[in-house]
Subunit: 241 residues, 2 copies
DNA sequence: TTTACTTTGTTCGTTATCGTACATAAGCGT
DNA sequence: ACGCTTATGTACGATAACGAACAAAGTAAA
């Protein structure tokens, strides 16, 4: 039996006090999260919350006509399933694995009782939730005002921040789904970024080769979200560890 | 000295248990909220939270270039200042009075200690926050996929739900600011709605004359948000009172 | 190797929204 | 009643994104 990866690759788990973490850790279940897996469906009751470690989860809203738009993404900085402790139990969105990888899950009831201790765990989860709110708000702004190219830059950077490598495994078709735009629009924008030597891509693999320039080309939205995450969750970016 | 209006015109306050409300009510300060007043500025520390009664507050994000977009609105169903109890203290958005009226405010510290009792008040505030999250998420979707006319319908309906009358006092220029579109686009959409006898407007006053048809013309976003508010906060729609 | 499939590239006409400019009209103060 | 200000109407070309259709190139399976 091989050793499992450290759950503390997830920054929220890592930010817990030892006493809190030790109480929780025996209940954490390791899970593999393959691309495209639906972790919850709109309106469905959540049994587990998920702490991604090497995976990225996309929160999507799917409209009646099938069109979709990404609301926010959750990676190793966060937790999927805030509606459990917020009290609503469900949300009108869908959660899909956007980048295959691993994570840990925890029974919803356990998380709820942790939350209801009203201590540091609660405070941490609420601050994370506020950061997530910022991400959603900024997505709304970005959808209103920015070009497909700017949004692609933002999306690549947000994803990159949640991965260890500088390569993202994702077809342009899927990116288009996330951004809620046409696949051709993504192709066009990606072509330009490649021509400018910021990225290299081929058949579902995108490698970012010039991150600073990519940041310049992105809209302010990326930065707003990043700064707000760092402000709200400094423990996730500390020197320690 | 004339009597002040009942704070319980605000549905959140109204949903509190008597014991909780009685503890809070002596600290509630009546405030008039004139159109355009900025209740807080991006990044600024919040001193008070606001419970609108007859006013509507708009949560706006203002971009570097001055363009803006509404993230969500808060009326008599809610509270302004969730970042206080979420732990972040500030947010990157601005809160502006969109519809003049009245409300009550409460010192931030008081609200925080109420929240930290970890009882029914906390649960209510968190459920409200989740409803607000839904509104933001749906705004993101709407900005991506729906026409100016559909968004105008949604906006009118959301505003109407938070007012006593069927008339909204608001110029097309201001609506354009909220929606993050051109004033001309709003004029055009409003003209069509008036031609179809759904609304009547003139110089800053919009009267909705055929609400059912307006709902038909709106996108699904309005309904998603409304249903979710009712699901999360049934106490605000109960028979009692 | 050949075939099938997936992914990306390209084109074309269509549409919605934009930016700008200016015209009309309604209300306000004097 | 007058002029001033604010609100709304309209027109124009420019642009970004759309929907649809198909070509080309890369990868995987037979």
């Amino acid at each position: 039996m091989s050793a499992l990866p450290d759950p503390r690759q997830n920054h929220l788990l890592d930010a817990l006090l030892a006493t809190d973490y030790d109480r929780l850790s025996p209940s954490l279940e390791f899970v593999k999260l393959p691309l495209g897996q639906v972790l919850y469906e709109s309106g469905q009751q959540l049994k587990y919350v998920y702490f991604p470690t090497t995976s990225i989860i996309s929160l999507l809203y799917v409209m009646e006509n099938g069109a979709s738009a990404e609301i926010a993404i959750v990676g190793n900085e966060g937790i999927l399933g805030i509606s459990l402790f917020m009290g609503g139990e469900t949300t009108p969105s869908r959660a899909v694995v956007q980048s295959a990888g691993e994570g840990y899950r925890l029974k919803g009831d356990l998380l709820k009782s942790e939350f209801n201790r009203a201590g540091p765990v609660q405070r941490l989860l609420l601050r994370y939730t506020q950061a997530l709110i910022t991400q959603m708000a900024q997505t709304a702004v970005c959808n209103r005002h920015h070009s497909v190219e700017q949004q692609l830059c933002r999306w690549l950077l947000l994803s990159l921040d949640r991965l260890a490598s500088n390569e993202i495994t994702m077809t342009q078709e899927l990116i288009a789904n996330m951004l809620g735009v046409r696949r051709e629009g993504v192709t066009e924008a990606a072509r330009k970024l490649q021509a400018a030597n910021l990225i290299k891509y081929s058949r579902g693999h995108i490698k970012v080769t010039d991150r600073p320039m990519l940041e310049k080309r992105a809209c302010e939205c990326y930065d707003v979200v990043k700064v707000e995450f760092e402000r709200l969750l400094p423990s996730l970016h500390g020197i320690a560890k």
